[in-house]
């Protein structure tokens, strides 16, 4: 689905990632883990084609990003930014319908199929009753769920999510993660997300990518990568695990 070839990333003169060869297949759910400034968001933006690589290339569906027409690419991958700043008072439903932009290139108005997709997405994120609200009047968590609903309405095989659980209350964190897992397992979508909560990541992800922050990285199935020793090195703090009712729980050590 998505692959990198000798990708190199730098920010502010610092080397974030070097010689990065990686690929994520259909139905896989990847979680990117690393400390602050390790390049998680930079990597995600580069994978989305919103930022030029500092070396190497990214390809989606076997085609290098620069070869993709923007509109066609927008039907292949959706990108959830870390934060939103709303300058204008669009209604929730309008913001979700806008995610259908890549599908109606020549039409002035959205069709009924777009409304069906938008409504289904709003209901899936439990925000349908907010449809007529001004996005600027929403709480942080509501705004985040509306943004994820827009991403669903975009209906792409690849989803790149920068901290999707941001600002969500505990119940919605769990339901959004369940939704992400269902997208991968039932619909065969590929998800790459950045997250800080190891326990959430461990529940939903099939694979993990650890960024060490010095150009090194470690990628693989969750069982191999989400190990206390590796995570401690990656996050720069001792990580311990306990097993509770058959689930592994990650804790920061003393």
């Amino acid at each position: 689905m998505i692959a990198t070839n000798k990708l190199c990333l730098r920010a502010g003169g610092r080397l974030l990632l070097e010689d990065f060869n990686w690929h994520a297949g259909k139905g896989e759910c990847w979680c990117i883990i690393g400390r602050n400034g390790a390049g998680k968001s930079t990597l995600l933006r580069t994978l989305a084609g919103m930022r030029a690589a500092d070396g190497g290339s990214v390809s989606i569906g076997g085609r290098v990003l620069s070869q993709w027409p923007l509109v066609a690419l927008a039907r292949e991958r959706a990108y959830l930014a870390q934060s939103r700043s709303d300058a204008f008072g669009y209604r929730v439903i309008e913001s979700v319908l806008m995610a259908r932009h890549p599908y109606h290139a020549d039409r002035y108005w959205e069709g009924s199929d777009d409304h069906v997709a938008a409504e289904a997405a709003l209901r899936a994120l439990d925000v349908f009753e907010l449809a007529q609200r001004d996005v600027r009047t929403l709480s942080g968590g509501e705004r985040q769920r509306v943004a994820i609903a827009a991403l669903l309405a975009q209906d792409t095989p690849l989803l790149l999510l920068d901290e999707p659980a941001n600002a969500l209350d505990l119940a919605h964190q769990v339901s959004v993660m369940k939704l992400v897992a269902a997208l991968c397992r039932q619909q065969g979508k590929t998800v790459v997300m950045v997250g800080h909560d190891l326990n959430l990541a461990q529940q939903v992800a099939s694979h993990a990518l650890l960024l060490m922050g010095d150009g090194h990285w470690r990628a693989g199935p969750v069982a191999d990568t989400l190990q206390p020793a590796l995570l401690s090195a990656c996050l720069g703090h001792p990580i311990q695990t306990i097993v509770h009712q058959g689930r592994t729980i990650y804790m920061a050590g003393q």
Partner: protein, 346 residues
């Protein structure tokens, strides 16, 4: 809990645009009838037919020809400013921006006042304004290339601070030149220069070029209306939805600069139309550019036609510069809206 109605937005847009078009026609009608000698409504069809046939001999036809010439120039100017205002607000992602915020009108002022200083003919003044506006736009474009998205489509920051600051600084340099010219100008020419700065339509007549610019800009704007929505909501994230944000920002800048240049060369640096009309329309009809763009263009035209009719009748036979009236009407409306906006958001 109801399901969504796909056609509702479309129907609503048609109603709003039709209403604004009727309003615009009414404004033109009022401007044709009202004046030092008022015309009866019954005389209008005959006079219009005379003008259309090119026979401007009767009193009613002559009056209507003069008034409609000025009114259509006012309409094109108001529509251009309102449209440029909507575009500039989308480009800078700031609902309080206006077509002059980047200093395009200040550049026009330097050109126009230079011509006025040497007592040049009216068409030279208009040419000077146009040249000044285009020169400052070009300079701004070169200086703030990065904000408008350079060659790489991926590298659009979506942050307009360089563009905005460059515009503000260029504007203040222009205003220094304007002040210099005003201070060395002979008394006899000062009045014309001050009127230009305020915005005045008393010299306006039938013209084609502003309508060509307006028509072209409106066609561009309507084609890009959906992409504009995406950019207004997502800023740099617009490229994730297939909108080439860099190209769109450059096109927006060029088109709104052309509109502003066309408007100021007709009417001088007329204030507030490009700020309050888009703002009022957004407040009334919502931020969807598919509705906002045509509605604001019609409303801006109608507003300036009415303001100019007031300007030439309220103290008749003395004619006021229309900019005084747009500012006097605009400032309280703007303050009221700003206040309500604060209340709603808090």
């Amino acid at each position: 809990m109801t399901t969504l109605q796909p056609d509702a937005a479309q129907r609503r847009q048609r109603v709003i645009v039709a209403l604004m078009a009727v309003l615009a026609l009414l404004a033109l009608l009022v401007s044709g009838v009202v004046g030092s000698v008022s015309l009866a409504l019954g005389e209008l069809p005959g006079a219009l037919a005379d003008i259309a046939a090119g026979r401007v001999s009767s009193l009613s036809a002559t009056l209507l020809d003069l008034r409609l010439g000025r009114a259509t120039a006012a309409f094109a100017t108001g529509a251009a400013l309102a449209l440029a205002g909507v575009m500039m607000q989308a480009l800078l992602r700031n609902p309080l921006a206006d077509p002059y915020v980047l200093g395009i009108s200040s550049g026009a002022a330097v050109g126009a006042l230079l011509a006025l200083l040497f007592g040049a003919a009216l068409w030279v003044v208009e040419l000077g304004a146009l040249a000044g506006a285009l020169a400052i736009s070009l300079l701004l474009f070169l200086l703030a290339r990065r904000d408008l998205g350079g060659q790489g489509r991926a590298e659009v920051t979506g942050d307009s601070s360089t563009l905005l600051l460059t515009g503000v600084i260029l504007a203040s340099a222009c205003m220094a030149l304007v002040t210099l010219m005003l201070s060395i100008a002979p008394e006899s020419r000062l009045r014309g220069m001050v009127f230009w700065m305020i915005g005045d339509l008393s010299g306006a007549q039938w013209r084609v070029l502003p309508w060509v610019v307006l028509g072209g800009a409106l066609a561009f704007a309507l084609r890009q209306a959906r992409a504009l929505n995406v950019m207004a909501l997502h800023a740099d994230g617009a490229s994730a939805l297939g909108v080439d944000a860099g190209a769109l920002r450059r096109a927006l800048f060029v088109v709104s600069a052309l509109l502003t240049a066309s408007a100021v060369s007709t009417a001088g640096s007329l204030g507030f139309v490009g700020l309050i009309v888009p703002h009022a329309c957004r407040y009334a009809f919502g931020p969807d550019h598919r509705v906002l763009l045509p509605a604001a263009a019609l409303a801006g035209g109608a507003f300036l036609v009415l303001a100019d009719t007031l300007a030439r009748t309220v103290l008749a036979p003395q004619q006021l510069p229309v900019g005084v009236l747009t500012a006097l009407i605009g400032v309280p409306i703007f303050l009221l809206q700003l206040h309500q906006l604060r209340l709603r958001r808090s």
